[in-house]
Subunit: 326 residues, 2 copies
């Protein structure tokens, strides 16, 4: 009997990761392509198609044995019609990606929000595998979330559930979010918010290593630079991370009170600096979440890291083969 | 063939509502008893048992035809062991209510959080019947919520999901919640918060009808008194309701972004004054919820009102007979 294989594609603003996996979700081959978003939709799609060819080429897998292709992209998506509705990273709007890829590859293609896909990946192949009810939160330039209920992605009544980053956390904040509103979780507690607070230190010329490291240019300040200053004991930088931890704890407490999950998986680039804020995060989580919901709650770090998206794309394509794994 | 019947019991801090219904959920008889919470657990349980006897007595339903008893109580509950874990209204703790009622009635008894039960009632018999994905929010002295996913109560991984009232809405608020934290949704946007803002007007001796109506005694100010002043055009009172509407809109936007439901059903006593705040609520909801999630979202008023709890208790007990109704 021939084995089944799957292809997963993670389309990000800067890179496209494409992987080939067997029916146990084991990755056999992987290729990375620069997205070059500025070159437009046609160019990107041709890049995606090439990456599919490339990932197959160096393996011995026959085209006929590839069962399905899963694609992870930033939302929101129109699942019913396989459309990317809006995508600020790629400057796409209403792109019928499923139709395009299916007509070229002659394989069924399934689309998923990247944070949802990553959540599914952590559930089946990562830090969430011990529970069927987990929430994955990625803390990066933005904050994204994926909610797994009974082992499956929770899409809500209309397909766009789990927009954790767009929960209002500080109603009267002047931190504007990419979505247009103010005080969203991702506007006040993401890497971008850390950078924003660091830039302010520079603009206000407060005594801080952030000024030294950025040579006084606020444009050069990012979350990583602030982390470096904090690691050297810089008080301004330490306070920025401490505040971020407290805000992260509040946002996580909110989803804990609403979803009562068993495991929270934290991922994203900002987690590389977790030592600078995890204590504050846990303290405010303990303070804000209901005692009952805190019981048996585990806070874990993503095991898949940068591969969460592409492994998620594979997981999404696997369907029954995925559920067989538990 | 004999018909099946169900008994629903809604145990509140001031009254116990007990109803008998047929297998279509039609209420045949209903009795109301004062809880008299101060008389202790034994007294209340004997009241509950009497109410079960009373509701059957004046009907022609035979005891043998009663299939199940559903009980709605404020949470949190331990579903696995049929325990009321903590109940500030009744001063109960770890009461094995299911065992007690089953041993007395010889019928299977099922326990449910009252807001969850009310949500199920609105889904099958009220304002939520056109969708399988609804959220019920009761705005009263507190704020409670019940989440219906795919036609069923969402309990989360550990049983205590849907604690909408305990999502932190204003992290730096000095409004303390019954749960011990500050700035919870119910601490800042419930009837109690309205009363608190009204009391402040009295204490600060601002020019307002709230002072006239309360004769200058802040202890006499409640949400209804503030509503009466607002209806007479009192600016302080109008502003209190306007602020409450804005905060309600933000809290609802958060659950809309997280759950993407099709219908939000609003109930509870504060909704009697909806004209004073619904415009502000809708405006802040539109501003804070993601466009995609707002699409096709309906905001409806509870159809079951004060009966939502007892109808919910019946719905909870109906099981398969309930799902047959859709």
């Amino acid at each position: 009997m021939s084995k089944s294989y799957y292809i997963g594609i993670d389309i990000g603003g800067t890179k496209i990761l494409t992987a080939l996996a067997d029916n146990n979700g084991k990755i056999l081959n992987k290729v990375k392509t620069a997205t070059q978003a500025d070159k437009g939709q046609k160019f990107i799609i041709s890049n995606i198609l090439n990456s599919i060819g490339d990932v197959k080429k160096s393996s011995s897998v026959k085209k006929a044995d590839i069962k399905k292709i899963g694609v992870a992209v930033p939302g929101p998506l129109d699942f019913e019609n396989g459309l990317i509705i809006k995508n600020s990273n790629l400057a796409w709007s209403k792109v019928p990606l499923v139709d395009i890829l299916e007509s070229h590859t002659k394989k069924p293609v399934v689309l998923e929000n990247d944070a949802n896909a990553a959540a599914l990946a952590e559930k089946y192949f990562g830090a969430g595998r011990d529970s069927d009810n987990i929430i994955y939160i990625t803390i990066s330039t933005g904050i994204g979330g994926g909610i797994i209920i009974d082992g499956q992605i929770f899409h809500g009544g209309k397909g766009n559930a789990g927009e954790i980053g767009h929960m209002t956390l500080i109603p009267d904040s002047d931190y504007q979010c990419g979505c247009g509103n103010y005080g969203c979780f991702e506007a006040v507690a993401s890497g971008t918010a850390i950078a924003r607070r660091g830039k302010k230190v520079v603009k206000q010329k407060r005594k801080s290593l952030i000024i030294n490291y950025s040579k006084g240019n606020p444009e050069l300040v990012d979350a990583q630079l602030v982390a470096e200053a904090a690691r050297e004991g810089d008080q301004e930088a330490l306070q920025i991370y401490s505040l971020t931890g407290r805000l992260l704890g509040i946002g996580i407490a909110n989803v804990v009170n609403l979803f009562d999950p068993e495991i929270i998986v934290l991922g994203g680039g900002v987690m590389n600096a977790e030592k600078l804020f995890i204590k504050d995060l846990k303290e405010s989580l303990r303070q804000r979440a209901l005692d009952y919901n805190l019981k048996k709650l585990e806070l874990k770090k993503s095991e898949l890291g940068k591969n969460a998206g592409v492994v998620g794309a594979i997981a999404v394509s696997m369907g029954d083969d995925l559920y067989r794994l538990t």
